[in-house]
Symmetry: C2
Subunit: 333 residues, 2 copies
């Protein structure tokens, strides 16, 4: 295949193997239906010509594109990156191509990217950030395409959701810190629906267990290291110094720890800190950061399972798939 000459077509492979194009197509997409001997001849012809199927043509003819759109808020400093990587890997291994779009926080961009995905006739749209706009949710619901929401577990999924209960995660963290004897938690809450929900779960449980209402600071998403530093400084504005800071992401936790130490406040002796997302860095930080782990690989696997069932024409009964979350206790709290 040189820069000038055209790529070989199915027809050429067929001629070389002495069969019809239809049979070659069957061999490629469904090898078990062609006779073993024929298959061998076809494979030889494929190898000889260096044939690579034109999947655009295939998609058009079969109305199955094997193209999956993943819409994520960002990748520069995302807490989802491990999950995104796992998803891309699994999808690729399962014979799909992955289109990646960055939505930021802008609903109009999201809409444009949904349209772009639909124009490619993707088999599925994977959402990592949460779609809050009701109209967009309705539109997605009406689409002839599989929509998988990940990380969250909304009451009314657009189609299928694979994630965990954020309020349960908050609840678990409240119990954990309570049992460790902390008494004055301070929450640093990114202004995203899911973070808010975790905070809600935390506060509810905390007060049910007899604690005082925690103080809190809201920060903008995407959350990042720098916010942690600023958040530490803001602690001085509180009526009393907290004994533990519950951060909405590991980045914030890391920034906060760095700033605390620079200010001579020892972590966790003087101030405990927890993060969220269990990034690799959390285990490497000094002190290591207590965090909440989400099994991104598991989310990816469940996603493949759902996609396969859909492709096989089965009806999905379980529309909310809970993969849970786990507190990873380390040195920082």
């Amino acid at each position: 295949m040189s820069r000038t000459q055209r790529a070989p077509r199915l027809e050429e492979v067929a001629t070389l193997a002495g069969v019809s194009a239809a049979t070659v197509s069957r061999y490629i997409n469904n090898p078990e239906v062609v006779a073993a001997a024929t298959g061998l001849r076809i494979q030889a012809a494929i190898d000889e010509t260096g044939y690579l199927p034109n999947l655009n043509a295939g998609a058009l003819a079969s109305s199955r594109s094997r193209l999956i759109a993943t819409l994520v808020p960002d990748i520069a400093q995302s807490i989802f990156n491990d999950t995104i990587e796992a998803m891309i890997d699994e999808l690729s291994n399962d014979g799909n191509s992955v289109m990646l779009s960055l939505t930021g926080a802008d609903n109009n961009r999201l809409i444009a990217q949904i349209n772009a995905a639909l124009s490619r006739r993707v088999d599925a749209i994977i959402l990592t950030g949460i779609v809050t706009d009701a109209e967009t949710r309705d539109r997605l619901r009406s689409l002839p395409v599989t929509v998988i929401e990940t990380w969250g577990l909304p009451d009314e999924p657009i189609d299928v959701a694979i994630g965990f209960s954020h309020s349960a995660a908050g609840d678990a963290m409240a119990r954990f810190l309570r049992s460790r004897g902390y008494r004055r938690p301070h929450l640093i809450v990114p202004n995203s629906t899911r973070s808010q929900r975790r905070a809600g779960g935390f506060v509810r449980r905390w007060m049910e267990e007899g604690g005082d209402e925690p103080t809190r600071l809201e920060v903008n998403v995407p959350s990042h290291f720098g916010q942690g530093r600023l958040s530490f400084r803001a602690l001085t504005d509180l009526p009393a110094m907290p004994d533990v800071v519950v951060c909405g992401s590991d980045w914030i936790a890391q920034g906060l720890i760095v700033e605390a130490q620079a200010a001579g406040v020892r972590v966790p002796d003087k101030l405990a800190v927890t993060g969220f997302g269990n990034l690799r860095m959390a285990g490497d930080m000094r002190p290591t950061i207590t965090s909440v782990d989400v099994d991104g690989a598991r989310i990816a696997r469940e996603m493949i399972r759902v996609l396969r069932e859909r492709a096989a024409g089965k009806t999905i009964t379980e529309r909310r798939i809970d993969v849970g979350s786990r507190i990873i206790a380390r040195e920082s709290a």
Copy 2:
């Protein structure tokens, strides 16, 4: 468009607007060739039907897919993430869909992903990691597709390269540290071609300026925070303590600073540190990290320019586009 009913086709829009399908196609792809009044009617019909073109069909018919493959090593802890984001944004805004594949360090995966991209008949393949395998480079060279290498600036690009000279970046850092009065640099060098080249540039300049040969530690890619911590501990094995550690990435620099501070070694008073990549975190760290900035947005813009020229059938004369790099002097060195 409900879950059951088919998407509207060009033909339907055409009928509604009272023109032929050809004219609608022209309006969509090349609006200036259709009469203004006709265009208005067509747009109304598009809006009414909610028509979204089937780009797979379009790609097949025009043999231009407007699909771009970007192959990156990873996204979880990548120093390229800002560049990748900028590229995805620019490509999307320019009417393309972006396929993202993760190559890891495995050449076989890379080959599989190149084939996947070719099967989609992508208009271009964007490489972020460097392709070292000679056979793969030759294969890519022979392909009827635009190949853009980014970040690096190889002597013999596969097709077009947009990046900067890593050895020049190393050279500049050597001058910078020398002029600041440092005398015993220690290099932490990820085992990637480009990092090695930076180290090479550094050492050459350093010794030319009369310095002693720097000590060095090789670490595996992808580099990450944890390596920085370990690298600090390894400093005790050196014959003499360095006065500055030149790290192959900001992650390593950050990890090293954290570990140094935990050990009571003040940065930069006792030990200076530099990073690479100028991640947002570098400016937020305490102390802020002296780093090398690469203008990812610029790389993305140049990429679009090249792609456009290719699409217009022009011959690209400038096959190595140097966007340079800049030392960002901060507190850590």
